[in-house]
């Protein structure tokens, strides 16, 4: 090791430690990225990222009833029924969210972007059957896209599914289990 190399090493370590400490100290002055869901959520700060793949929802105002989503789904989450005849009606549009793996293939297949991911994720329940979301309340006419026209603006993303699940997730957070059977009765039974 030559002399110049020796002093170069000292200079390098001093400068790099100095700069590194400046970097870490600058992080002390920043807000942490952590979101303390669910009980310390700051208002006005989005909980999820913009392209978050949350629960699927379908906007029946612009759904063409083409069944592309049902065909492309690898695990059969989506169940669509369209009545045959001269007047076509969508009679059923169910999404079984308990099976869904949020791959987003249906969203890509949809020609009118009727089916889409939302930012919602808090919808846990005690009953798995409640995880099936029925979107069709009464039969609707499928949307017919007009050529070379602007596609109609659908409902805002997340508004439909938010109405359906309500504050289900929050309810589950505050869920208190039913009281256990009375201990005295139990011991009486066992002894008798």
């Amino acid at each position: 090791m030559s002399f110049s190399e020796y002093f170069e090493n000292i200079k390098d370590s001093v400068v790099s430690i100095f700069e590194g400490m400046a970097v870490t100290f600058s992080w002390m002055l920043r807000r942490p990225h952590t979101i303390q869901y669910p009980d310390r959520v700051e208002s006005g700060r989005p909980i999820v990222q913009q392209k978050f793949r949350g629960i699927l929802e379908v906007d029946l105002n612009i759904c063409t009833g083409c069944l592309a989503c049902q065909r492309t789904c690898p695990i059969g989450v989506i169940m669509v029924e369209v009545s045959k005849g001269t007047e076509r009606y969508i009679t059923r549009f169910d999404i079984e969210t308990s099976k869904c793996m949020y791959c987003g293939l249906c969203v890509e297949a949809c020609p009118t972007s009727a089916i889409r991911h939302t930012g919602e994720f808090a919808f846990s329940t005690n009953d798995i059957r409640k995880m099936v979301l029925h979107f069709v309340k009464e039969p609707v006419r499928p949307h017919k896209p007009v050529k070379d026209a602007e596609p109609p603006a659908g409902l805002p993303v997340g508004s439909i599914v938010r109405e359906m699940i309500g504050n289900r997730g929050e309810e589950y957070v505050q869920y208190t289990p039913p009281p256990l059977p009375d201990a005295t009765n139990k011991t009486n039974k066992e002894s008798s």
Binding site: N9, I10, I17, F18, E19, G20, M21, A22, V23, T24, F25, S26, W27, M28, L29, R30, R31, P32, H33, T34, Q36
Partner: protein
């Protein structure tokens, strides 16, 4: 302590034959005080360090137990208290049991000479610095014992690494302290503090260029001696599975951690006493400070603040620098720190002789070095500002979360 016991004997009107009893009681009280102070410091630092670590990594850290998670350290202590104390089957059980207490004692014993306030000190030994360097050898013995007795490969590696590292780094620690001992002319920590002034440019860190460099050498090698990152090879979590304390659990494990965090205060305390003016308050003479009890208390606070700032720097370094390799560690000690500190001793001798013959030079050099320190601080704040400004994510100043 002796003067205090004489005062107590006088005030109670007892004859001098009771002096031994009074001294023993006084030492016991002081020991309890040091133990309480050290343990509380270690506990609170464990919470504080995790909070700082969180913020530096853009996380939050423990914030659930009490206000801002302050009682986290008590919760962790209780958890460890109730844990099962496992002693593996093939261990050397006596050594296994003694080792944590040896480490703890080794660190706690340094509190004997570390002053808290002008007259609150366990024993103002005339060989204080030598005592500190000698008594910390107990830590080496304890860690090696723990490594050997656990009957595990990882712990043995950790113990041997630790011994090599701590014995090596005692040399630069001692040598860099000598740089200050030369102008001070004493090894007693209290006398070193007294011989410094209150104002920053009278501190020994700005005494001469050699002392300025020696402060950083002392700080680095004290970190290495205390097994702190970036020199935490003995307990490298990612390589050695926590090294010498792998097999420990419950309170025995906690004693190692107590020793580690108390050692932070010891490093900060010695650096404060030797380099940063200790409990001296600017503009107040030493004799005046000794008389008034309020000035004594103010001195305690000043000392604590200086030591805590250094503790902050140690924690901050831990989350900045990566761990060194063992050969890099040894190269750094024997090729860089030891030769440089020997050179610094010679420079310090020259400057001390120069100051005695031409006192004006002393004042000029001190003021220039103080200015250098201020310039470094200003440049550092500029770099922090630069880092914040040039980050794409817009920043927010938010202290508590």
């Amino acid at each position: 302590m002796l003067e205090l016991s004489d005062k107590i004997l006088e005030s109670f009107g007892l004859s001098s034959q009771y002096s031994l009893v009074v001294i023993i009681i006084l030492f016991f009280v002081y020991g309890l005080f040091a133990l309480t102070f050290g343990s509380l410091f270690a506990g609170i630092t464990s919470w504080y360090e995790r909070r700082i670590a969180g913020r530096m990594q853009s996380r939050i850290g423990p914030n659930r137990v009490g206000y801002q998670g302050f009682w986290q350290w008590l919760a962790d202590g209780l958890k460890c208290w109730f844990k099962e104390d496992i002693i593996p089957k093939d261990t050397d059980s006596v050594l296994f049991r003694i080792a944590p207490y040896l480490v703890f004692t080794g660190v706690l014993c340094t509190f004997v000479v570390i002053p808290f306030a002008p007259s609150v000190v366990g024993s103002d030994m005339n060989v204080g610095l030598v005592y500190i360097i000698a008594i910390t050898a107990l830590v080496v013995a304890g860690i090696l014992m723990a490594g050997w007795a656990s009957d595990s490969k990882w712990t043995l590696f950790g113990g041997i690494r630790s011994t090599a590292q701590m014995i090596s780094y005692e040399i630069p620690v001692a040598l860099s302290l000598i740089v200050v001992v030369i102008p001070a002319g004493t090894l007693s920590l209290q006398k070193i503090i007294i011989s410094q002034g209150g104002a920053p440019y009278n501190w020994y860190i700005f005494h001469n260029p050699a002392a300025f460099v020696a402060f950083f050498i002392y700080f680095t090698s004290a970190l290495a001696e205390g097994n702190r990152t970036p020199f935490d090879l003995p307990e490298a979590e990612s390589e050695l599975v926590a090294g010498y304390n792998t097999e420990y659990s419950g309170m025995r494990f906690l004693f190692f951690l107590f020793a580690e965090w108390m050692n932070l205060y010891v490093i900060g305390g010695i650096a404060t006493a030797v380099f940063l003016g200790g409990w001296r308050i600017p503009g107040i003479a030493y004799e005046v400070q000794m008389e008034s009890i309020w000035l004594q208390f103010a001195g305690f606070i000043v000392y604590l603040i200086k030591a805590l700032i250094l503790v902050n720097v140690i924690i901050w370094l831990r989350w900045t620098l990566p761990r060194l390799r063992i050969d890099q560690l040894m190269i750094m000690c024997y090729k860089y720190l030891v030769p440089i500190s020997i050179l610094l001793i010679i420079v310090s001798i020259i400057f001390t002789i120069l100051y005695e013959s031409v006192p004006v030079v002393g004042l000029v050099v001190r003021l220039l070095l103080f200015l250098l320190g201020v310039v470094i601080m200003i440049y550092f704040s500029y770099r922090v500002y630069y880092n914040i400004r040039n980050f794409p994510d817009k920043t927010y100043l938010k202290w508590m979360i």
